[in-house]
């Protein structure tokens, strides 16, 4: 007996299994980042000696643009795949991977700048929360890159064997990737601008 609804949609929920799975996972991610942001607010408002460092806003703005662009490329790659245009899909999807890599490079430059200014996680709680939040977000980017790399490389065989399931996988990866983008959209003003 095969597991039902791995590819096709269950009529009463309108979903295939993986899509429900990824949304549930994202719900737990919402709670994870909720706790991180809540911590930030509590520590910042609770400490009269809070020091808010001014971070590198131009670099962070660049990173915001990079991540937004990668969100567009990933959604375009999904659309291309649904139009059965594999070459265009691969172009957009590779673009997403490169943009994600670019984001991490910029992040590394930023971290290096901060280290050279003598700012470390233990310097004060702003730096602590800054490294914790951007670090965990960075881990999510890296995790996304691994999956994108897999789906571009060995995982791409599935396009020939089970195209519908492959489209589904791209959709789920896309949902995850947009969520990573969405978290950054809130991280950026709260850590850099306020």
């Amino acid at each position: 007996m095969e597991i039902p609804y791995t590819v096709e949609v269950r009529p009463d929920t309108g979903l295939y299994n993986a899509k429900m799975g990824i949304w549930l996972f994202l719900a737990s991610e919402v709670m994870l980042f909720g706790a991180l942001f809540s911590t930030y607010i509590i520590l910042r408002t609770g400490n009269p000696d809070w020091v808010q460092h001014s971070m590198n806003v131009p670099l962070a703005t660049l990173n915001t643009m990079i991540l937004i662009s990668s969100s567009v490329t990933v959604v375009m790659s999904w659309a291309s795949l649904r139009l059965k245009n594999f070459a265009r899909f691969r172009m957009y999807f590779t673009g997403t991977l490169l943009l994600a890599g670019g984001f991490m490079v910029v992040k590394a430059i930023e971290y290096n700048q901060e280290f050279s200014q003598g700012l470390f996680p233990w310097s004060d709680n702003y730096m602590g929360i800054y490294f914790a939040l951007t670090g965990l977000h960075g881990l999510h980017v890296v995790g996304g890159m691994v999956v994108i790399g897999y789906l571009l490389g060995p995982g791409a065989k599935m396009w020939r064997t089970a195209p519908e399931q492959y489209v589904n996988r791209i959709e789920c990866l896309g949902l995850y990737w947009h969520f990573v983008d969405l978290v950054w959209i809130f991280l950026f003003p709260s850590l850099y601008l306020l």
Binding site: M31, S38, M65, L182, Y192
Partner: protein, 116 residues
């Protein structure tokens, strides 16, 4: 959104994606520009969070196609949102509604608590 949409619909979708991208880029520029203005704290926070919410809303509504999603996903997200709000409101208001001075602590705190 299964695979049953027609190619024309998908092409229409991609135009929307590009428009959303433009809106996100513009909003990013605005929020950075505003941060260089001399707003007071409340104003700055309000504006920045307002813009971030709009940007996040655009990503969720169009890129994650939440505008036309299934009921189950809406229910899960509403439930999550309720607990998400609780995770902010309850700890913050509990810490704010404190007897004495414990929010700014001096020395070791003796608040060992029960576990049940």
């Amino acid at each position: 959104m299964g695979g049953h949409t027609s190619p024309e619909d998908i092409k229409k979708e991609t135009r929307t994606y590009l428009l959303v991208f433009a809106a996100l880029a513009v909003a990013t520029v605005i929020t950075v520009t505003v941060s260089y203005l001399d707003l007071n704290r409340t104003q700055a926070i309000t504006v920045a969070l307002f813009i971030a919410t709009i940007k996040g809303g655009l990503v969720a509504a169009f890129f994650m196609h939440l505008l036309s999603e299934e009921k189950f996903i809406y229910s899960v997200l509403v439930l999550t949102l309720v607990f998400f709000v609780a995770l902010f409101v309850l700890p913050i208001s509990t810490l704010a509604d404190a007897v004495g001075e414990h929010f700014v602590m001096e020395g070791v705190e003796h608040g060992e608590s029960e576990a049940h």
